[in-house]
């Protein structure tokens, strides 16, 4: 093997391994988002990992402090429910009984502090009810981007 070839092989190895290092080091825990159900979250030990929880808002649990731009509600699971807080402009059509996805971290009181809140879009909502499938995932993601939306109807 010529010395030139060895040189290039070493260089190639160095470059590739540095890219590999980049790709592997990207999988740090703070970059991961866990998709969990409400029950899984409630049973889970509280840690600082980023969670994404989906479920329906429990009837009557939704409270809004409009001036402070704060909202509070509970997401309903099969066996338990999870309290969620969110500060900021809430998504459109955030109402009792609606399906939501909340992304955030748990605090020490067992409340999910969401930094991202999404709601399923109403046109599909009826369809989903009919079919008995409340949340097709693709559609929830559609909302994710579309929704930086507001909770109140337009005043007449």
């Amino acid at each position: 093997m010529s010395s030139n070839k060895i040189k290039f092989l070493i260089a190639g190895f160095v470059i590739l391994s540095s890219f590999l290092y980049l790709a592997v080091s990207g999988f740090k825990s703070e970059n991961l988002v866990y998709f969990l159900t409400v029950d899984e979250v409630v049973k889970r030990k509280v840690d600082s990992s980023l969670l994404r929880v989906q479920g329906q808002i429990l009837e009557g649990s939704l409270k809004k402090k409009i001036d402070a731009m704060q909202i509070y509600f509970k997401i309903l699971g099969k066996e338990s429910s999870l309290p969620v807080t969110y500060t900021g402009v809430p998504p459109d059509l955030l109402e009792n009984g609606f399906p939501v996805i909340a992304e955030g971290r748990m605090n020490s009181e067992g409340t999910l502090v969401a930094h991202n809140l999404m709601v399923a879009c109403p046109s599909k909502f009826e369809e989903m009810k009919e079919k008995g499938e409340l949340m097709p995932e693709d559609h929830l993601r559609l909302m994710e981007k579309a929704l930086k939306r507001k909770s109140k109807e337009i005043p007449n």
Partner: protein
């Protein structure tokens, strides 16, 4: 009923004819039987004609709102304008697959017209491979997802189009992307044909270069249009979210970019032959994968169509294509030997090679990140996804590397660059780049990657300008013309090279926009009463009040905000909140004030009875540079694509060696 039947039977006969074409093309090619080949080619042309007929009837049914057809009832309604009824052709799953197929058959027809007298030994295999892809889509349309399926009882009104998609950007974005996507099938078919026939000289490479460029251009502009639409319509103030479908459209573009570079080495130096073949195959597989990801529902995404049950068909086809392609490469390895060896790190070849390694690494990192939720669910039973931080962390350093190569590559000589050459060509760009760092530090900008991106862009831009200057000067010495005409002559006589530099220029500008807008975005959320002001960064926003509007398809509330910079009124933005009637859905229209230095992005939410409203304000520095860079990029690609003889003067040749 006639048109529905016409459509249905057309796609079925097309299926049969595609099988005929595959059979006769391949056997004709192997047996060198010109009658067989002719049957194969004529069947392929008939498939094209039939698909045109089927597409026309589907479009007609959409235009006249024939709700007997399920696809029509699901995608248009009585109040939808003609323009959007037409675009509903590709608005749903079945229709979008039809468009895929239509483009594929159109390209097949063009390839036949273009090459019948040129690449005779390749053509049967090219047509055969194109028809295999067509067969796959025809299979889906005939058995898995039927565009002409009927409703038992036709509804009175259809379901209509999602209001988010009622925007011209969203109407042209999918076909634009598809024109590119489907275009990659042509180079792939030539590649497979060359592998089968063993005619692996430069002939096929030259035939597909323009096709790849064409596909790559539309793929790239399609991605940009998608970003521009997301920025305008979705109201979250960004243009790219590392969403699975976005990633799927980016990956083939990256491998195609790598190919467009490494193919130059093959043409000039006869190197990297295996690599080029692999890049084309990868691009094709990633294209099919992208089409699959959008429809399978295995990855949740913003852009996805309804979950469908034919994911496995795609998977089977992907594996089949993967297996056959690499088997062929394996059998032809001996014919793909390199004619030269790499001589120095400081050569154009090494630069191109490095660029390829980076492009492919980025592709793999994105692929890995995109597929991670699926892998983690299979392995650990828990669904874990990696968000934008992962993609940023991995891709930003690699992007910086690309940015460096963008300017440094063209300065390198073929084979080996001597020290004195290096000094001569690198001195000015390096000084300008360092000057850039100095200026940024002076303005107290310390964000590491932003500073790096800016100074590397400045380095690359100055290197490119220097190349243009040197070339123009050479021409000026021979002809006494002004610099503008010399510049024009230079570009027109070396379209590939200088068109390529303009593409580089566009990308450098785009990178500056991306770096500045992501490192220095300011976001604030606030509730204001009419007349109140709020500071966002250096800008003051004053909420003037709101107004209600009613149009045919929606009700809206529109807020008025005055924007002040350093005490001067610089503009007004009107963020809007709409509620559409059919389907009933709220949307947010962001109020965007676009500027050279920064964009103002305002999103408006609920209003109470006293007129107090919640807002989200963003200042996005240099965001417009992204779109401007995109325009420069498009211009450069078009120059590369123009026919060689255009713009040249008779009897004068100014092509430069290098």
């Amino acid at each position: 009923m006639f048109l529905i039947d016409l459509g249905k039977y057309s796609i079925f006969s097309a299926l049969v004819l595609s099988v005929t074409s595959i059979f006769f093309s391949f056997f004709g090619g192997f047996l060198k039987n010109s009658r067989f080949i002719k049957v194969g080619i004529n069947s392929a042309i008939s498939v094209f004609v039939l698909i045109v007929a089927a597409s026309c009837s589907l479009i007609y049914l959409l235009m006249v709102r024939d709700y007997r057809v399920k696809y029509v009832a699901n995608h248009v309604n009585n109040s939808l304008e003609a323009f959007y009824r037409f675009s509903a052709f590709w608005g749903g799953q079945e229709g979008s697959l039809m468009l895929w197929l239509l483009l594929l058959c159109l390209y097949c027809y063009l390839v036949i017209r273009q090459n019948l007298n040129r690449n005779l030994d390749l053509m049967p295999f090219v047509v055969g491979t194109l028809m295999v892809t067509a067969f796959f889509f025809l299979f889906l349309l005939n058995f898995m997802t039927l565009p002409f399926d009927l409703n038992a009882i036709p509804p009175v009104d259809g379901k209509g189009l999602n209001p988010l998609l009622q925007d011209w950007g969203m109407v042209i974005h999918p076909p634009n992307l598809y024109i590119g996507y489907v275009g990659y099938v042509v180079p792939f078919s030539f590649c497979i044909a060359a592998l089968i026939s063993g005619k692996l000289d430069d002939q096929w490479i030259q035939t597909i270069r323009r096709w790849t460029l064409f596909a790559w251009f539309f793929n790239g502009t399609g991605i940009l249009l998608g970003g521009a639409w997301a920025y305008k319509e979705l109201g979250w103030g960004g243009y790219w979210a590392w969403d699975p479908v976005e990633n799927a459209s980016l990956m083939p573009w990256l491998t195609a970019t790598a190919f467009l570079h490494s193919v130059i080495i093959q043409e000039k130096r006869g190197m990297l032959k295996v690599w080029n073949v692999v890049l084309i195959i990868l691009t094709y597989l990633l294209t099919i994968f992208g089409t699959f990801v959008t429809r399978s529902g295995i990855l949740s995404s913003v852009h996805a169509f309804a979950n469908s049950n034919f994911g496995w068909v795609f998977l089977v086809y992907l594996l089949f294509a993967l297996f056959i392609s690499f088997l062929l490469v394996f059998f032809r390895l001996s014919k793909l030997k390199s004619e030269h060896e790499l001589e120095s790190f400081f050569s154009r070849e090494a630069g191109f090679l490095l660029n390829n390694v980076v492009f492919v690494s980025i592709t793999f990192a994105i692929f890995w990140g995109t597929m991670f939720p699926v892998v983690s669910e299979l392995v650990e039973g828990i669904k874990v996804t990696v968000g934008p931080p992962f993609f940023d962390q991995v891709n930003v350093p690699m992007g910086m590397f690309l940015l460096l190569l963008l300017g440094a590559g063209p300065l390198m000589a073929w084979r080996i660059t001597s020290v004195s050459q290096m000094k001569k060509s690198f001195l000015v760009p390096i000084i300008v780049g360092l000057l850039g760092v100095f200026v940024l530090v002076l303005f107290e900008i310390h964000h590491l990657f932003a500073v790096m991106a800016f100074s590397l862009s400045v380095f690359s831009i100055s290197a490119i300008f220097l190349e243009f200057y040197k070339g123009s000067k050479l021409i000026k010495e021979r002809l006494s013309l002004n610099y503008m005409s010399c510049f024009w002559l230079l570009t027109m006589n070396n379209k590939r090279r200088f068109g390529g530099y303009i593409v580089h220029l566009g990308m450098a500008i785009l990178f500056v926009g991306v770096a500045a807008s992501s490192a220095y975005q300011v976001t604030e959320e606030v509730r204001l009463r009419p007349g109140e002001s709020f500071h966002v960064g250096s800008v003051r926003m004053r909420y003037e009040g709101f107004k209600q509007e009613i149009s045919d398809s929606y009700r809206a509330v529109r807020a008025k905000l005055s924007v002040f910079n350093m005490g001067h009124l610089i503009g007004t933005v009107f963020p809007e909140r709409r509620i559409y009637f059919t389907p009933p859905q709220p949307t947010t229209e962001a109020g965007i004030g676009r500027g050279f230095l920064f964009d103002i992005y305002a999103v408006f939410s609920d209003v109470d009875s006293r007129g107090a409203a919640s807002f989200k304000f963003m200042v996005n520095p240099l965001l417009n540079w992204i779109w401007f860079g995109g325009i420069v990029f498009s211009l450069g690609s078009i120059i590369c694509f123009l026919p060689d003889r255009w713009g040249k003067r008779k009897g004068e040749i100014f092509s430069l060696k290098g």
